[in-house]
Symmetry: C2
Subunit: 268 residues, 2 copies
């Protein structure tokens, strides 16, 4: 009998950490960005560190990741520290003794309460009725996402300026992979820099700080499975080298899974 072992999904390969203290991981070429790895992959890895910690309580509620400096291709170390009651965490990603990334996270259990979603899901055709259209092929990490833009696709050579910074896009992992907290975290960062859309061209830009609030429970993520998620992102203000981005991720049936914000530097 020949045992056929499927290789892990590239996302799971990139999430893999060796045991021991500190934990060690390795950047994967599949999730490379222009400089260093895709920031969403780094954020996802930090969530995974806590998920696999024997003392963590519940699931992620809030995560903030600060991108302090570039991550070089290769090995990295992640240290985690419980600040309080197995719910409040502090993390650092280190290479050669230098902190490249710091994070705080809040995990917790949830209980049933009054509930309401005030925000309206953007109107969008079904992903099956839209062409698969992602980011340019030289952005390696984006090849791991099936993207179908509803509005605000990445500008081409003759796009010109755009008066609004909104992109709305169906997204799922490719190959398909059931949604979990790390992959949801990564998806909050799949939006290319809003300044590209406004200015109609590429320029140097990178996330300085990313915050994710998790509204979905693990059961709600299980219900999404490997289906597309609708993401929408926009900026509020661009000024003196920085802009903010607010993003939301929705399940197809209208559940607001996560809201996210980031501050991004740009150089025009």
């Amino acid at each position: 009998m020949t045992e056929i072992v499927a290789p892990p999904h590239p996302f799971d390969a990139a999430l893999t950490l060796t045991s021991g203290e500190p934990l060690k991981g390795r950047t994967q070429p599949e999730y490379a960005n222009m400089v260093g790895p895709f920031g969403g992959m780094t954020a996802a890895t930090l969530v995974r560190v806590i998920e696999q910690h024997p003392d963590r309580l519940g699931n992620p509620l809030a995560l903030t990741v600060n991108y302090a400096g570039p991550i070089a291709d290769g090995e990295f170390e992640i240290t985690s520290r419980i600040l309080r009651t197995n719910q409040h965490w502090q993390l650092e990603l280190v290479q050669d003794g230098t902190v490249t990334t710091s994070a705080t996270a809040v995990f917790g259990t949830r209980r049933d309460t009054w509930a309401d979603t005030e925000l309206t899901m953007p109107a969008a055709p079904d992903p099956e009725d839209l062409p698969a259209q992602g980011l340019p092929d030289f952005i390696a990490w984006a090849r791991n996402y099936d993207m179908r833009f509803v509005e605000g696709a990445i500008p081409g050579q003759d796009s010109g300026e755009c008066p609004e910074s909104t992109s709305t896009v169906w997204v799922r992992d490719t190959p398909a992979r059931p949604l979990d907290f790390p992959s949801l975290t990564a998806m909050t960062d799949v939006f290319y820099p809003r300044v590209f859309l406004r200015r109609g061209r590429y320029m140097a830009a990178g996330t300085v700080s990313l915050t994710v609030y998790f509204h979905a429970t693990a059961e709600q993520l299980d219900a999404v499975g490997a289906d597309h998620v609708l993401g929408t992102a926009r900026a509020h203000r661009f000024t003196r080298g920085y802009f903010d981005q607010a993003a939301q991720l929705w399940s197809r049936d209208g559940s607001l899974l996560a809201t996210s914000h980031q501050l991004v530097y740009f150089k025009d």
Copy 2:
């Protein structure tokens, strides 16, 4: 000659830290909340710690504060650590060896670039044309703010439920005090919990994590001086014990000074 020395503004008294390592501060009854101090005052104090650090570079760009546990009335210690290039900071507020609050902050210098504000300032009458109407008197910290609600004032006994969670309010320190980064930080947290407005009643609620993105330069804050700032806040989703809040602070002349987000727990 009798020298008359004015007492410091209550906000500056609450910001005061002793020198030494770790820095020591003290909660002030003027900024007490229902349990412990006003979270905005705590966030402001953390900004001040970095501002007065000899090695800090530039002004605040992003701040995240995690409220891990209650702060008891009295003395506290704050430790700060530079993670990278005098721009990335990590802070902890500690009482009796226990972390009550953790934070990360990104500071930096800014340079002139293309700029645009995409968000529209909420329409509002001038603050002079609205009655001063704040939070109930038993919320001590709120007595230090002149508030004039445009919409979404705190519910009274017979308010009933409200279909939307938006509050828009003119706010300034009282006594008047020129705006700076710590006071702007505090003002991002002056909005009472959105769930009170939706449900038409009070309940246990508290900020778990607060993030502020600073769009204003020091010169822009100087230009505001002690004028009112227009704040607006709303929630996106309430579910299983938590909701998010997105807030903006605007100068009277339409400059978006800061955007802010928080995750809040509630118990109904």
